[in-house]
Symmetry: D2
Subunit: 342 residues, 4 copies
């Protein structure tokens, strides 16, 4: 009875969010929780907010502990999902929140991540054209990165409708949970509170080729992407400010109509009323994206802004949304569209 799910990497932020989402899902039963260095300790020592699961003991992340489940969610550092996934049966639904199976081009993988390319799985962003069909027919899902999720939701309608020139500029501000839980000096509260900082500037961030790949696919021709991530003094959320030169003849109304058409039926994307702009607080803890778009007529650019919760729609909620599709469940099952604010 129910669908039994294992979570590998349950002591980290992505793993914790997966547990939060799955614990509120009517179909899933939470099975094995695994970790690496924290194996043998109680979940409550790492995730005290997961009150009803606090006494669960973390197992070691091995193919054996993950065996015997209907779904396995992998929330592991990049490079670790590939070897694990190989040993899981082909009938098991494997949902990888890491980067291992996102990129189609092995050269991109090697350039940005190094090491051997593990392969390419269907891309778990159901909103992109054609993806729902692919996700309904797969046992393997590559969950998008958090920056790609928000950037693509901001920009893809413009490229799908041919309204933007093929040079996109994206500046995104992320909460610190996107950097994970491993303690590093620059992620200390004392360092990040009260401060905005840039990092991974100049096209070197690993999410760059992923955004490039998906925008190009939507556009039907190569799109170059200038992507700059910044770190914001907040735990959760990403705000992406995206722009591209407007294609000839684009009007403000035509732009808005294109976005309204694409997002009319989407359960998790809200095109805001004109005059209201996205804030990450609109989406905290929800599987939603808030999107707005404008035409800057003086500068001749389409400017689109989107906000998500990097851990929910950007990771765990998006993973469950895609898993719902692969399992033949209603896409929105167990996923809230109501954020926690203020």
């Amino acid at each position: 009875m129910g669908t039994r799910a294992a979570i590998a990497g349950a002591s980290g932020y992505a793993g914790g969010e997966l547990l939060r989402v799955l614990a509120g899902h009517p179909e899933f039963e939470i099975g094995a929780l695994t970790a690496n260095s924290s194996a043998g300790t109680a979940l409550g020592a790492h995730q005290p907010h997961l009150h009803p699961l606090a006494d669960r003991i973390l197992a070691e992340t091995t193919p054996e502990t993950l065996a015997g489940h209907d779904v396995v969610f992998l929330a592991l550092p990049h490079g670790q999902s590939g070897p694990i996934a190989e040993q899981l049966g082909g009938d098991v639904l494997v949902v990888d929140c890491g980067a291992d199976f996102r990129l189609a081009d092995a050269a991109d993988w090697e350039h940005y991540y190094g090491g051997a390319h593990a392969g390419t799985w269907p891309y778990g962003l159901p909103e992109l054209p054609g993806n729902r069909e692919r996700l309904r027919a797969t046992r393997r899902i590559a969950v998008p990165g958090c920056y790609p999720t928000v950037s693509l939701l901001a920009l893809f309608p413009a490229y799908a409708a041919g309204l933007a020139e093929p040079e996109a500029v994206i500046v995104a501000a992320s909460g610190t949970s996107g950097a994970g839980r491993a303690p590093k000096p620059n992620l200390l509260g004392s360092e990040v509170m009260g401060s905005m900082s840039a990092y991974g500037v100049g096209g070197v961030h690993r999410h760059t080729p992923e955004i490039t790949q998906e925008l190009s696919a939507v556009a039907g021709h190569p799109v170059t992407v200038s992507f700059t991530p910044t770190l914001a003094p907040m735990s959760r959320g990403i705000l992406a400010t995206c722009s591209a030169r407007a294609a000839p003849g684009v009007t403000a109304q035509g732009l808005r109509d294109a976005y309204a058409d694409v997002y009319a039926g989407e359960p998790f994307v809200r095109l805001l009323p004109e005059g209201q702009w996205p804030a990450t607080a609109m989406t905290l803890g929800a599987n939603t994206a808030a999107v707005q778009v404008a035409l800057d007529e003086r500068a001749g650019r389409v400017v689109a802004v989107a906000a998500i919760d990097n851990l929910t729609k950007g990771t765990a909620g998006g993973a469950v949304q895609s898993a719902n599709l692969a399992l033949g469940l209603p896409e929105a099952m167990g996923l809230t569209t109501i954020g926690v604010a203020p």
Copy 2:
């Protein structure tokens, strides 16, 4: 089909949280949403995180707009609930998140709030001795203040077991949402970020007589309370640090046992494992309290600390918990015990 609920004060923080909780509750159907100065505008302009309710229009707060519902939740400034409640039928469940019906002593009301005392309703903190029975038999509920909720959950087991002397000292740090949504200079982000401040010092805060009343009732004799609220640079959450001189003969183990006994069966209060101390992040968005207690043998004091989300367990979640009891529903229905972290 379903229980129809109206929310008065839907544009404020307490009202927004009531909507968040009720929208996830399987039994309630959300009826009229009312406001004062925001009447006539869409909810989404004030509560953009409540995505599926964004297009609902706010009505004016009058007995007429609130009529025809099974439950009316009042989230109004103090002094406004009394007149409204008088005009609602006796068979309607009225749940007042304001202060109007919390105090039993009219002199306390006049001293701390001024004006005429509206009356006294059953106190919506089910965890206190005898309260569940009272709440199951009422059509009128006075939801506790947020500071009293967290302070009482921290301290009442010690007084119920006779382990603490009758002079309690409470210092609590609250997020800014507790101060409401009316814009005041001292609540600007620029003022509160990066700063802790004290206010209402010296026994003048209005929650002082409420805490005193309930602790005294639990103890069976008068307890004096020194209560100091402070404002913390966060939106949600209260951490209360409470202490009292230990009664003669109290041991650390006896103290812990008393708390373990009281909270063993409680669905929403977690006595943390020894060595783990409450953080408000454990409870964000959840209807839970995290509690810990210690005996300071050098100073001879019982020290108890509790954390809640002021808007959830401290207001809207607590309100729904009590309403569940009054409606004969399972007490925990529709209320999550899983917080949003990090």
Copy 3:
């Protein structure tokens, strides 16, 4: 003995920062402090951090209260400086922290601000080519906006050296003090903490024509600017992420050399070592800018990032730096290059 300075608008954030800077300046003596609605109250009620000035009483902002000073600093809402300045003698140094005298094009003023254009004064960003000479010879200074300050310091060396194509894209994240002290619901701590939001999107922000004007002047030909401001959960600081298509033949080394040449002798701008990227915390409370630049060879863009404290280098410190020049004092007198961190 000393230079007597009056500050109009002393109860606001810019005024408070002017006082902080002037109080530590060996040459200035603080004269009249004026305000509008706060006239008659003690400064300490508004600026309790200005300990030694706490008992000073605010006068009303009139030409009379501002008369009899060597320097008048105006920290007033836009549109109010013009009328005041007219009535101050031509020998008084008037330093306007507002927008009234920044724009050269009356049509720009009318489009972005409305009303009559007050005129154009020398632009108080000494780092721009030719500005030091102009500032040394003037009694009237238009202090740049905070966003223009940081954006120009990030980008102008690329345009001065002909290394960037004339379409600049700027996304900047500002602390909330940039929005001033008037209480508005969207600036409440509860709203801004934990959230990034966009505003003024699509070229409508008033700092857009100012950035355009100055970049075009440096480049020697028209530059279009796509500028998007965002609000970050912090009180102070701006991080600007700026990019433009690289001119043909630009190399990473050539780019870096151009910045190094421009900033080699600048007392307040630090081109960070390669690999280190700006954070606003590097500049908090200091009159400094931290700058870094990279060439994104895949996307073909110059990417420059700068951080400042919006109230110090972005307003009050910049104002004093320019005033030092106009008064024949050492440019760096009284201005710290050491921030407050962490």
Copy 4:
């Protein structure tokens, strides 16, 4: 020419603040900067806000690198100052920001810190009775802990005047910089932002015996102290809420007069006007304390609240204030009383 100062532990938060204060001090010349694991790297990699010192290279912390200076400031983990200090000449002024020489009672040292007691040096809180004389005559200074500094400034006037009973209750909220720079999971920005947490509850925090020792000395009889530290979501600042039962016959006016008398001539302590309560933002970056006191007549308690910047008045500023005295310089030299706000 000038007084040459070495700083041991220059890569940490206390060391960075010492450098910030000393760089603005007209008498000190900054000599050797030392570190442990960061030895050999540039200061700018750790303290990028110290712009003019960014290229200074950190030496190893040894008696040799610290030799040849007039003053040595030690900002080292507890237990490390003792061995170093032994090898510095008796004519060198040694200012220890660590705990090694604060406690008079070796048993207290062993209980709270473990290991051998290094000794007792004059206590660097000039505001306490008799301390200025001791500090003027010493070559060895034990800088108080940050919590003791703020707690003592809040409470000692009440004890000095005999207005409080000998059981003090202190709850203090500290910014995260007080916990230092070593990366630990619980100090990550993701964990601390948006959250208040308790730690060291029940009398186990190491600053407890220090507060007890000094309050007892001021009172002239033993005072017990219940001290609970909490962690607030901010980088700097401590707010201490302190109370004790009022002695018989105490009046509100008598209480206020006692504080006004004690603090009338103090350059760094501001007793706020009645009705204004301390906020840490009043003191950020300044060597000041903001203090307020009230009598809670219902509860019969004296309640005193104080705010400081834990790194400035609580560590580095306090250290320089005491060093000024020991060197025969004006006590306030080089120390600002103006905070950075908002």
